[in-house]
Amino acid sequence: MSGTMTYHFSVILVTFGLLLSFITYAMTWIKRSLCLPFAVLSIGFLSYCSFSLFILVIERGPFEYYLGGWPPPIGIAYYIDELNAFLSLLVYLVALINLLCNRERFLEKQGDRIGGTMALYILFITGLNGILLTADLFNLYVLLEIASLTGYALLAIGDKRQAPFASLNYVFLGTIGACFYLLGVGYLYIKTGSLNMQDVSRLITQIPKSPTILSGFIFILIGIWIKMGLFPFHIWLPRAYTNTFGPISSLIAPLGTKVMAYVIFRVILFVFGKEFSFEIYSLGHVATLFGVAAILYGAITALRQTDLRRMLCFVVITEIGYIVAGLGVGNINAIRGSLLHLLNDVAMTFCLFLSADHLIVNTGTKIEELKGVFQKTPFGSSIYVLASLSVIGIPPSPGFFGKWYLLQGSLEAQNFWVFGAILLSSLLNTVLFFRTFEEGYYHHTESPSYGPKKTSLSAYGGILASGLLVVLMGLLAHPIVGHIVDPFLLRARLP
């Protein structure tokens, strides 16, 4: 395909995503059984677009795409660089694997409403993708709301009867978060008169120490922190992700929070700038404080849980803590570590939730019900072990590399709080996961309470693919740092 066409993929990803979701719903009117294959095809097409965009960016470097040819500050711009192109590719891969893997379960649970569910599914990933690619602060808000609104609806599809109530609680907190973000953007607009990220960052340097900008900074940070589930603002997260339908949790848990974490980096490094955020507003201390608190809280609370998926939700909170703590330390190695951890975490959390969901289907939601599960489904359990070892940070796994850079960065900055918290939480995670291994491996039950469920080939294929994704991220850690993370840091003028 010619290069000029590939440039347009940056906007096609979003517009076609919106269009295809509506066509998927319209398929219900023709034949309901067409919806799911069509959704798979659409996500496959979008993944292809995302992949060729990624190849283009790697070959020719980052570029800006002007919607309708209007240059900013008048028009909306999309900015595509190595990091967000890669993250967008990961989003589509995760969505595709998850959909293929859980095809039967979607049909079984949502059979008569499959059109609507698939439309929401595509809209959700389109919203996330738009958040990643856009370079316009208000456009980001709109796409954020698209992703959140569809997320609320998807989370309300429940395994348990608490699901709608948990989802409504998320609606309240999520709306407060999004409104705070919008308010912050308003304050920036008062002072700069622009909404384009690059334009705002250029104008902001001319007016340092303005209280209006400071208010905008605080509102935007708190808004995004609520959406990403950082420790004091995390209350919605365990409830919403635990009670929902399994395949939905394995879609939203890895993607939703990580994409918002990317927004934090984008906003701090490319809108406010490093000197501004760290030296004038001393973000470093605040982020370190919140990050360390999140790491410790997540790791300790996870130990108390009896429900497997709820336990994994607290692991997600810990991972968010790593990312924010790395940002708080603020030197190049720590931020490199957080960004690498962010990318790896998408793959790790996805694999963890997908395989844990497989175990839950075969046994039950409680950890003590896992007895003998390793005998029952040796394949799914081994992928679960792989993902858990990666979260703990055993050397060849991707989790190790992220933590390594984080530790190195915190040592260089003499920040022993972060250093200690990461080591301690790795230790606690080891205890946590080995407790589940122990239940699954050593405690045999003579007569399993549930018979082994028949699992289709595509489900096994999906779980295997998610495991392969984790292994690949581990093997390719060096090129990922070299070609994806470091150019991003270089453009942020970090070293």
Partner: protein
């Protein structure tokens, strides 16, 4: 004294938006009925829309619509239309959020037979 009065009176829109935000937050936090919380959420969102419209307002400015004129126009005679355009989207977003939240409330009512938060929590504990 005059400057303080000027500070309060001159920015009454901003005071109002803060007041409305607080009313919305109060309803979201302290009300027991889920429908009331949803109303509070919507008030919270309209408060932010009011904030944006106040940004674009200019004293003595008029509606930003141009007749067919050939001569140049003075910018300060018109209010800034950009925040208005942004808020068109925000209104639609707030209505969609309202709709989704009400749909969830109906789901909850079908599940538990009530919309009072304490009764739902009691029902979930069993």
């Amino acid at each position: 004294m005059d400057s303080i009065l000027e500070f309060i009176v001159g920015r009454y829109n901003y005071w109002l938006y803060i007041l409305l935000m607080m009313i919305g937050l109060y309803a979201m936090i302290s009300k027991n009925n889920l429908t009331k919380k949803i109303v509070g959420m919507n008030i919270f969102q309209t408060a932010i829309i009011l904030f944006y419209i106040s940004i674009g307002f200019k004293k003595g400015g008029t509606i930003p619509i141009l007749e067919h004129t050939s001569h140049a126009v003075e910018v300060s005679h018109f209010v800034n239309p950009l925040p208005h355009v942004l808020m068109l989207t925000a209104i639609v977003v707030s209505v969609s959020t309202f709709g989704v939240a009400l749909a969830l409330a109906i789901m909850i009512y079908r599940e538990h037979g009530t919309l009072e938060e304490d009764e739902i929590l009691k029902c979930l504990e069993q």
